[in-house]
Symmetry: C2
Subunit: 463 residues, 2 copies
């Protein structure tokens, strides 16, 4: 099956049609606006959209998509532009449809632990409102992405180990399909077995099957107390054994993060701690009861001591928790400071947890072989590992890409995936056949059936 990838359209006619229903300040062809929407946070080649359109309602979005379909113009949805694999870069130009003005919260349902909001709200803005209700939306990435972007990329972040990824936290969505038709998928019931799960098909499809304009998502109660454990081990194997040991004893940390030894050294240096650089876990628990936290930390201590931990730091003091997590949270910045002036490339494979030691070992070996001073960090509770690699020229970038290809091959051999949370975008498209084999043809069949003119974010997901 061949999916169309060339477009010839009349931009002026399109804009004339757009102006019949949208205000002037919803449409821009300015260089500045086009440039702003030409790149995300990644190093992928920017591409200028021909026109930027701001939707202010689902109706607006439907109108624009319908026109895009009629005029056969590529249309790429835009939230905050914080993706890491070029997901919202309009590689075939056309329209970039920004949802950033659609920030309304339609309803908070405290008794149902749900909120309905428009796609353009950022997770920080959403959670600021939810905090007043004692609730929060969990699957948030490091960057201040929008709700729509989080859903389109099936984002997750550091708290997936307990609360799941975006797909696990969405109940219903309003979606504009390629023909401009608006459908609602899912419902406000947490249990649903009524027909095909379009909800989870569209989540993570990166705007290639439909554009999400509004969503109802699950929330969790904000806990009163929290604790943090920072534990270092001689080997990565011991650190991962500790992860398994903690989970086998029924503990469900909110975060269960791994930092490789080289990275740990950079972090300790950055914050002025004189400590041996060793594979380290950052573990966070939350609870409504302080005594539960104390008991959980005791279990972490026992498991860690049983694995010959070299450093164990446990605290239920909120300020001390913040202090420890700031180190983890600023890891990327500390690394960037160390390699000032260099570009950084972040990989994103995920494997079964038991395969993490082998995965981390392979990454280290590949970086050594290619002369790259990279570091490893992972969401150990989910088996998701990021290698961050500095480079400064084309040869360096080629080396980085060799390492990335090698570690993806290893992740797939170990039963994992080429991307745990950043999505396919441009960067991982070349690995789709390798990972999914003939299932890619099935994905393509669905794409072709739902977007026969290939107007929705073309050039993504598929090789």
């Amino acid at each position: 099956m061949v999916i169309q990838t060339t477009y010839a359209f009349n931009l002026e006619a399109l804009i004339t049609d757009l102006r019949t229903t949208l205000r002037d300040d919803q449409i821009s062809v300015s260089e500045t606006d086009r440039e702003t929407h030409s790149h995300d946070w990644s190093r992928h080649t920017p591409s200028l959209p021909d026109v930027v359109v701001w939707a202010e309602s689902t109706d607006d979005a439907a109108t624009v998509v319908k026109l895009a379909n009629t005029h056969r113009v590529p249309i790429t949805a835009w939230g905050a532009g914080t993706s890491l694999e070029g997901n919202p870069i309009p590689v075939h130009q056309g329209i970039t449809l920004s949802l950033s003005r659609m920030t309304a919260i339609s309803a908070v349902y405290p008794a149902d632990f749900q909120v309905t909001a428009q796609a353009g709200i950022t997770h920080e803005a959403l959670n600021a409102v939810l905090r007043e209700h004692g609730l929060f939306f969990a699957p948030v990435p490091g960057a201040n992405a929008t709700l729509g972007g989080i859903l389109a990329n099936n984002a997750s972040g550091t708290r997936t180990v307990r609360y799941g990824a975006a797909k696990d936290n969405v109940l219903a969505m309003t979606v504009v399909m390629a023909n401009g038709e608006v459908i609602t998928v899912g419902s406000r019931s947490v249990k649903q077995s009524s027909g095909y799960n379009l909800l989870n098909l569209i989540v993570g499809s990166e705007g290639t099957l439909g554009i999400v304009t509004e969503a109802t998502v699950r929330l969790f109660p904000l806990e009163k107390f929290r604790s943090t454990a920072l534990v270092s081990f001689e080997t990565t194997q011991q650190a991962i054994d500790a992860v398994v040991g903690i989970r086998t004893r029924g503990l469900t940390p909110k975060s269960l993060e791994f930092v490789g030894e080289t990275y740990a050294g950079i972090l300790w240096d950055a914050v002025g701690i004189n400590r041996k650089p060793l594979p380290t876990l950052f573990i966070e628990f939350g609870s409504f009861r302080e005594d539960v936290l104390e008991a959980e930390l005791e279990i972490v201590k026992a498991v860690s001591e049983g694995l010959n931990a070299q450093h164990i730091e446990l605290t239920t003091d909120p300020e001390k928790c913040d202090e420890l997590w700031l180190v983890r949270r600023h890891a990327y910045n500390y690394f960037q400071a160390r390699y000032e002036g260099k570009s950084l490339y972040v990989t994103d494979v995920a494997v079964p947890i038991s395969a993490l030691p082998q995965m981390v070992g392979t990454i280290q070996r590949l970086m050594d072989e290619n002369g790259i001073d990279g570091v490893v960090l992972g969401h150990a509770g989910d088996g998701n590992v990021h290698a961050t690699m500095p480079y400064d020229d084309d040869a360096g970038f080629a080396a980085v890409k060799r390492v990335n290809a090698g570690l993806i091959a290893t992740a797939l051999q170990l039963g994992g995936t080429a991307t745990g949370e950043h999505g396919v975008g441009i960067g991982k498209a070349a690995h789709m056949e390798q990972e999914h084999g003939s299932a890619v043809a099935v994905m393509r069949t669905i794409k072709q059936a739902l977007d026969p003119n290939n107007i929705l974010n073309p050039g993504k997901v598929f090789p």
Copy 2:
């Protein structure tokens, strides 16, 4: 879009082709075998398949599906036949493909909390093996369904409130598509954002998009200790307020079940307890630490007392827990005994939790208006409600169906769904447009694209 629903095929030619690759004992046209595979546990009209075929491997299944596609013969997958909406009844006859001989467990991965098994294994057989590893597979219905059936119907059961439904517990599947091609979807990584989520599209599609032959699913550690709370309230509203109160305080029960007052009366009578019949919650907790359980029960007590609970029973004694849960588990049998000789109809709507009191009230009113002595029971933690209604003739059945249509309409008005866990099958197909509107056309487009000859379980899901 018109989906084909008439079939003209040469049965003898099909069977001749089947015999070229399968043994004689894998193919049956006997009346007994056809009758066995003509009905599930529901009251939906039975339909005899023309031939029953037992797959013993994914290759077998692929061969049979490929032949079905070539001969344009309907093919319906079969696990244990315990569905409640006619899901595996071969309404257009053709082939019933039984997976019941595919019961192998390929691998248990204790450190990853995963197991890979063939689709025909029952959940009881699977969990018996997993118990030796201190693990269990959570989303199991009351009947001893197969893994494939559980996935095909996105089943859930009483522990969804804590562990999620089938869709939340599956990581990878081997699937035979309509053309006989075998694909694998998902991976052993718990985090996946690589391309379209075919995994969750196929889960719950009731064998209409593909036939699952093997799956890797998530497991949870078996906890050492458990507790049970049985609490009765004056009103359903108070009972549901208690559910919300418990969850707002961060407790995550393993089960959080609601029994309406009439049903409670029948249960107390059945086990010889002299107690006022009132809306009642059955709550179960599990933990690796007994002190945690005690503390949780204290919270349940405080919440319940704050809502003027009329009866509070709390226990951490395993035998007493079993005793209390047996009452809940045998609820259906007790009801059946009370209405011996009558047929029973079980409905399956789900709504946001806050809407449960209104939902339960509407069900009661509809049953009263239609002269039906039905009862209500629900998985309160998920907002899923079942009304069980006795009837004994066509007029009675018509009344039952009127009530069902009325309560579905109410569930949808309240933001819920026509089916929380039983699936669409035959029974709910008529309500799909009502629930999903134009999203049904999108589902149909996907069905048409992936199964153009409509051979996979035709006559289900779509009206």
